[in-house]
Symmetry: C2
Subunit: 141 residues, 2 copies
DNA sequence: GTGTTTGCAAAGTGTTTGCAATTTA
DNA sequence: TAAATTGCAAACACTTTGCAAACAC
């Protein structure tokens, strides 16, 4: 039972080690914020603000670097919904998104609620990297 | 037959008028580049370069402004495939895209080659704005 | 100790904006 | 001539980078 308490932290330590990233104070703290509470979608700005609010001393540049390193290591996935802002998703499995254009909120979509009938024929000499589906919604009032 | 030659230009003049945009030299020239040859996907930078190559005197700022005005007027549609770069599509009907991650090329997908089984249930209080599907491919060698 | 990571500030992208000069109607 | 548009340069938002100081192992 007591072990449960520490699982997130321990988990992150292991994740970083596996990814070949030194578990520095900043990476551990950011990882804790990112992975402790299930699926999250954050921008660098959002995560930095959250870190500051939690009295974690880390620069915005390091947040950017960390998000990119986590993404390269497969711990995060980048989601493109708006030009000029990068979102990072803690859910790296294949799935799609709902994007709220009014407030910039992004949520996962359970994969089974939606699926493509069939993939189109890909252009000659290309291979599929991934299919991105974004359902864009706005407040209906 | 002779009339065919001028159709694109005349068409653009009419489009601009309908959209309430004064048909200035720059807008007409950019519109001609955009709409003369069927469906195109351009960034501001690309269109500006093309204009310069065609001896059309227009500033990059005006290209940006024009692309935004055309988009607001429904003559273009913005497509988000990469954070940090905006693409504009001359095809404003409902359709999806193939994005070549290696070279940044973007192409339309015929709508019938692909379709969603069903839309997910939208969050309470929201309405659908649009569904964006991007098939990301890379060179397979 | 050695190599890695951090933080800052500076530089880099892509895009928007203020305003005087120009153009359109 | 009145109102809209252009072009430039400056400002912007977001992101990356160079390098000295701090840190991990």
């Amino acid at each position: 039972m007591g072990m449960m308490r520490n699982r997130p932290f321990t988990d992150i330590l292991a994740r970083l080690r596996t990814a070949g990233l030194r578990p520095t104070r900043q990476r551990l703290a950011l990882g804790k914020l990112l992975f402790a509470d299930g699926n999250r979608h954050v921008t660098a700005e959002m995560l930095h603000e959250e870190a500051v609010d939690n009295k974690i001393q880390v620069s915005l540049a390091t947040v950017y670097n960390t998000l990119n390193q986590f993404t390269d290591a497969g711990l995060l996935r980048e989601v493109v919904v708006e030009s000029g802002r990068s979102y990072f998703d803690t859910n790296t499995s294949e799935h799609h998104h709902i994007f709220h254009v009014d407030n910039g909120a992004l949520e996962d979509l359970s994969d089974d609620s939606m699926r493509l009938v069939e993939l189109p024929v890909l252009p000659e000499g290309t291979q599929l990297e991934r299919v991105d589906i974004v359902i864009r919604v706005r407040n209906s009032n």
